[in-house]
């Protein structure tokens, strides 16, 4: 299990390679990479604020929860904070399991919880404005499928 909260840019491929290479018995590795999108072509930077201390705990608890729900060989979570440029990777999760279904489901689960339950807040900065990104109802709704 490997959890990172960092300001520095990262290369998703370098992490996927390292994660894949360290697996012993896994047959399936799923990764998700989130990128800053610049829909209007005006985004200059994205600022990500977080809650130091709580962030690390929340991500570790989330990874533990995923491991208790699915039979996983390994979990990787990386989330950036600070200033990001448009198009840059924001965050990444990877899961490893014997079979593909638990690897897919656990990665999907991690993302749904990261969106709405990990203490990060995004602010989009264009030439003219700085706007806090609103939480989406669809993200909240996505959590309900995992309730048990």
């Amino acid at each position: 299990m490997d959890i990172r909260v960092q300001e520095a840019a990262f290369d998703p491929g370098a992490h996927l390679s390292a994660f894949t290479a360290r697996q012993q018995g896994a047959g399936a590795v799923v990764s998700f990479t989130g990128l800053t999108r610049d829909l209007g072509g005006t985004l200059e930077t994205m600022e990500i604020e977080h809650y130091p201390g709580m962030t690390e705990k929340a991500l570790a608890a989330l990874a533990d929860e995923a491991r208790s729900r699915w039979s996983l060989e390994d979990v990787f979570i990386l989330h950036r904070h600070g200033h990001l440029r448009a198009g840059e990777p924001i965050m990444m999760v990877a899961t490893a399991a014997l079979h593909r279904k638990p690897a897919f489901e656990a990665a999907d689960f991690l993302m749904d919880y990261l969106k709405s339950r990990a203490p990060f807040w995004k602010k989009e900065i264009t030439r003219d404005a700085a706007t806090w990104v609103d939480a989406k109802d669809t993200d909240e709704a996505a959590l309900s499928q995992w309730t048990r």
Binding site: E49, Y51, A58, R117, A118, W121, W132
Partner: protein, 83 residues
């Protein structure tokens, strides 16, 4: 009871500070919010709509009616937008 209060994102911006220390008798985050709102001004504005807020006690997400007894750090912030 002495509490460390933390504010994040637009809550922090509206209030104008990210943290402060407060001596309070409030028994829940809801009561604490009421007390802060009573200061008026930026506090009243930031905490106007409780449905737009989330609260963590000692770095654990919880509800506004959770007990504050034994807690040392309270954080108020908007719904999270990670991932």
């Amino acid at each position: 009871m002495k509490l460390r209060l933390l504010y994040f994102a637009w809550v922090r911006e509206r209030i104008g500070t990210g943290q402060e220390v407060l001596e309070t008798e409030a028994e829940t985050p809801a009561a604490l919010l009421e007390e802060l709102r009573a200061r008026g001004g930026a506090y009243a504005a930031a905490f106007e709509d409780v449905t737009a807020l989330r609260v963590a006690l000692d770095q654990e997400l919880t509800s506004f009616d959770a007990p504050l007894a034994g807690v040392s750090e309270v954080a108020f912030f908007p719904p999270m937008t990670g991932g």
